[in-house]
């Protein structure tokens, strides 16, 4: 087509041959690398090396975590009732009057029990944030309830200093999450009992759920029945099923 530096026939052949060999070795290495990933033993449903990658990502992003990094907030008028997605752990009926929140220490000792009125007696906050689902959709919604930090303060003198995670599960134990303590103590992490000013609906996690724009929806457990303070991470429903344990935003 156009003028370009020409090589002699021999040079051209030599270079083609050389790049053929280099390319062959490289693509073989690439293929082996791909097989190597696929053949890795699985840790919580994904190959070990990818799990290691998730953990490296967790170290990077939890290292960069700052209390004053706030998720963007929106005008309340742009918020709507959150779309319902997933019913694991909340399929059975719930008697809201009989509901109690149990709090347990790292070694499993019961520390306390709360009614919804106890939760409502704490300082109340409201936030309009963008809820993000790990599937890709996002929706602006509004949550109301106390900060988890204020709730945790009730137990501060009963807890060791090295609490690193909070484990939360539904009353039937069907759904459960572990969330790092930095996120739990953040201003934008609420124990929500209101969605857009209304009591949270059964399908959206009545009477009390976790609400934080710092994590994907998979971490924002509905219908909390039991909270345990831990010095290492506990179980996590989706983490055990191939997802990133950190799931931070």
């Amino acid at each position: 087509m156009s003028e370009r530096p020409e090589l002699t026939e021999d040079e051209y052949r030599g270079r083609t041959r050389r790049s053929l060999i280099v390319g062959g070795v490289a693509s073989f290495a690439g293929f082996r690398g791909w097989r190597w990933i696929q053949d890795q033993p699985e840790v919580d449903n994904i190959p070990q090396v990818l799990r290691d990658g998730h953990e490296l990502n967790e170290r990077i992003w939890s290292g960069l975590f700052r209390d004053d990094h706030q998720a963007r907030t929106f005008d309340r008028s742009s918020a709507s009732i959150l779309r319902v997605n997933g019913r694991v752990g909340i399929r059975n009926e719930i008697d809201l009057d009989a509901w109690r929140l149990e709090v347990v220490g790292p070694d499993g000792d019961p520390l306390g029990t709360h009614t919804l009125d106890d939760i409502k007696a704490l300082p109340q906050y409201e936030m309009t944030i963008e809820h993000k689902c790990i599937e890709g959709w996002a929706q602006i919604t509004n949550w109301g309830g106390p900060r988890f930090a204020d709730f945790m303060a009730l137990y501060e003198d009963q807890l060791p200093d090295d609490i690193s995670h909070v484990y939360l599960e539904t009353p039937d134990g069907g759904y459960y999450v572990s969330v790092d303590i930095d996120t739990m103590r953040h201003d934008q992490t609420l124990l929500a009992h209101q969605n857009l000013g209304f009591p949270i609906s059964d399908r959206n996690g009545a009477p009390l759920r976790l609400a934080t724009p710092l994590k994907y929806g998979i971490k924002q457990i509905k219908r909390i029945g039991r909270i345990q303070f831990l010095t290492e991470h506990g179980g996590d429903y989706w983490g055990e099923r191939g997802y990133d344990w950190y799931a931070g935003l």
């Binding site: 083609t16 790049s19 990818l50 710092l214």
Partner: protein
């Protein structure tokens, strides 16, 4: 670095599709009338993509770092060797660019017989396209991080509008990459036997460091 991109992008697009499929909402439409939904069911079936979101995310978030590092290495390489001058249009090129790019496109579509002018290693259409692809690459990385950590990297997300628009940008860039790839291969293939050979050896074998790429690379 050029060739490392190929398998990396392939993995990124493949795993990205697995993620996108969990919530495939984008469609191309005008005035509310849907022309083409991304993607028809047959598309996923033809490519034999399974619905495995967790695995898609795992690959995507890990290989994103390799793609980013390779991109950085390439940026440093082109800057240190001055090769960027052969790719990005200089001021005197910008002037006649629209005319020359149109000329090249018309020529390639066999609508115009005369050869487009070439100044240096690449002609105007190539300079324009390759610059655009490099910008697209940077945009893919930036919009990716904007979606990945919209709170921690809120400034980046803000620059691209918001979370939703950053996602649309990320998706559009991917489509643009695939379109570029198709035209890129066609252009290489029809630009002469030797060029074709050099591309085939590279293409077939997937990876080749750009330092060994010394054949006339008038691609």
């Amino acid at each position: 670095m050029h060739w490392i991109n190929f398998p990396l992008l392939l993995i990124m697009i493949y795993s990205g599709l697995r993620i996108y499929w969990a919530e495939d909402v984008y469609a191309f439409g005008i005035l509310g009338w849907e022309w083409f939904a991304f993607f028809p069911d047959g598309f996923y079936q033809t490519l034999d993509i399974e619905r495995r979101l967790a695995r898609g995310l795992a690959f995507h978030f890990n290989f994103a770092w390799l793609f980013t590092l390779n991109g950085l290495a390439y940026a440093i390489y082109t800057w240190r060797t001055g090769e960027w001058r052969e790719i990005f249009p200089s001021r005197q090129h910008v002037k006649g660019m629209v005319r020359d790019v149109t000329h090249t496109v018309l020529h390639d579509l066999h609508l115009r017989k005369t050869q487009p002018p070439v100044r240096g290693r690449y002609n105007e259409a190539q300079r324009f396209t390759y610059s655009l692809v490099l910008i697209l690459g940077a945009l893919a990385i930036l919009s990716g991080f904007a979606i990945f950590k919209p709170t921690q990297l809120s400034a980046l997300t803000w620059l691209l509008g918001d979370y939703t628009s950053a996602r649309v940008i990320h998706f559009t860039v991917t489509i643009a990459f695939v379109l570029f790839f198709v035209v890129h291969i066609l252009q290489v293939a029809r630009s002469g036997w030797r060029n074709f050979m050099s591309m085939v050896t590279g293409y077939e074998l997937q990876k080749r460091d750009s330092s060994t790429n010394e054949e006339p690379a008038d691609v």
